[in-house]
Symmetry: C2
Subunit: 362 residues, 2 copies
Amino acid sequence: MEISERKKKILAAVVDEYIITAEPVGSKALAEKAGLGCSSATIRNELAELVNMGYLEQPHTSAGRVPTALGYRMYVNELMQKQKLSLEETEELNDRLEKKLNELDNTISDVSRLASQLTNYPALALSSRSRVTIKRFDIIYVDANTFIIVVMLDNNTVRNKLVHLPVSVDEAMVRKLSTMFNASFTGILEDQITPVLINSTERAADDSLGLTSVIAAFAMEVLSSEAAPSAFVTGENRLLNQPEFRDPDKAHRLMSYLSGGGYILPPGEELGDTNEVKVLIGPENIAEELKDSSVIVASYDAGDGTKGLIGVVGPTRMDYSVIASKLSFLAQGLSRRLGGGEAPVEGMHNKLIIKGDDSDKR
Amino acid sequence: MEISERKKKILAAVVDEYIITAEPVGSKALAEKAGLGCSSATIRNELAELVNMGYLEQPHTSAGRVPTALGYRMYVNELMQKQKLSLEETEELNDRLEKKLNELDNTISDVSRLASQLTNYPALALSSRSRVTIKRFDIIYVDANTFIIVVMLDNNTVRNKLVHLPVSVDEAMVRKLSTMFNASFTGILEDQITPVLINSTERAADDSLGLTSVIAAFAMEVLSSEAAPSAFVTGENRLLNQPEFRDPDKAHRLMSYLSGGGYILPPGEELGDTNEVKVLIGPENIAEELKDSSVIVASYDAGDGTKGLIGVVGPTRMDYSVIASKLSFLAQGLSRRLGGGEAPVEGMHNKLIIKGDDSDKR
DNA sequence: TATTAGCACTCGAAAGAAATGAGTGCTAAC
DNA sequence: GTTAGCACTCATTTCTTTCGAGTGCTAATA
């Protein structure tokens, strides 16, 4: 059955109201508030149909209506007044963000904390990097039993490791190894570091002490740890602000799921396009623990192949529009600041694309 | 007024019981349970006096008794059955710990997490290092505008920084600087890196580009960041396990205080001697937010001047004895593992010293 | 045909009333 | 000094009652 214009208006009004009050909303309140010129009786009829269609439900016979997950989905996809942030809010957010971004270490923990502060919900940050390679090796001879391996990655971060040996090496060997690694191990991906390559290097360097494999192992370790996605969740306690989590047991269950580093996003789900905001409503989440919560995430691009993701977790009754705007805002700020994004400085608050929605909203 | 032996026994019994049930304990229960050969009426008299003396209180006229902070203090100092861990528990703990310690990065976040898991309370970890020096400098020439500074600290950790310059340098200069820094900047403390020293080095190296100050600045940054105490709190959500935090507002208040990195220990309070366990009961805490919670901390020594501290936060009704044992256990494990401690492997579970208590147990 | 006023009905939440019982303090006997 | 006995207190639990927001349905209206 097709949903009429008026039904849409009513549904939107129900969701808007419910987001604020967290109480079931009744026909009378709607008649007064929403500017649709009809009486409560008419609205009652419409509401009854919306229930039939699965967009709303009633906690019990004599209560008002509450949006279902389907209702929220419809709201998010089509009805929501996107970008509610006023100019002042935008300004304020911009200021705060600018300040924060400057003192930001760009550790995902900081990013997550920032998102949580901004939205007042528990927040997660996630980042992963693809196609990392090493640009340069340096091996520093310390003493006969000790050297330091220093590698510089293609994104100019530098990592090091101190190696103690049970046997002694001389400087010449170290220098030789350094040259060989720079020749053969730079610019390649982790899975291109094969036993074959290691063996041939070992032979070529005339290394009978196994130094080659130590260095190669470190290289692999660095590459894989750099590529591994890391996640961070903060502000779990903000859940307790929400009336739907006044039950300590319920709150505890979700909070420990979050703290436990449980998977929040569908495992298959690759990070979406930059500047896209995704919303997962209630049962759309795969994790059992999230089935009656919603997740909103925005992705950003830190350049050099690093993609990141910031999001919040909250009750299904969240102000999707505001939160999505804020996250999008933050994600674009990060993209811009970390150099990857082509997001224009001016345009920060007018590009908000939400999954499942193909109309651009100004 | 002096406290009689029997009163002590009764007080101990009240605390023991209350720790388990979290309910006010009555005279009858005590008469049956605690093996003191007297009737409930007698106990009632004693209880009344204990209330007068300030060790116990009554929530209301017809309720049982609950320990006051003073009562807990007395319990912790004199009455508590220390070291309740049975042999099996010790074994089990040992196993778990051994396993965990091995995969431990020794980041304070890991230590904190471990403490929280072990005790099922929110936990904090804190560590600070004194008298750090740099053992060795290496400066790697990358290209005319780029070099990498690598420093090795006296505890053999290695830190590095990539420097991009607007001007160009040659390899000879870099080598010269490296030599000079190794001569003048090794083995000294942060506050010994003075403008005078920097100036003279700069002149001696004939450095007109300000490279000296860049390197010196990095050295200072490393030294100060290494010496700065850092803290980490985890497992805040475990607070919700406790009946006294079923009120979401109360829980939220404390949790956000903890997450916010609020000061948990008295600022003046230096880290105590290794293997000492400190207990701060309710109002003994300075932070307003902790006035009706207790904090138990144990300190460890990771050698090389690094002192650490692990602790938990919970309601005043905590099983001080068990928690103190576990923390002490963990602290000693850390000391041992990180090389600083002289704690004997065997002796792990028999050296438990609690602040304010001068008798050694078992 | 769509809308609306009117009304009986439902059912959770709030308020009130009564019952329960754990625990006390006190007194008098041991 | 200890104990049995008993009247009293008061939080907690349970059961009723009241209240009212909100509904669904019907009949009148535009």
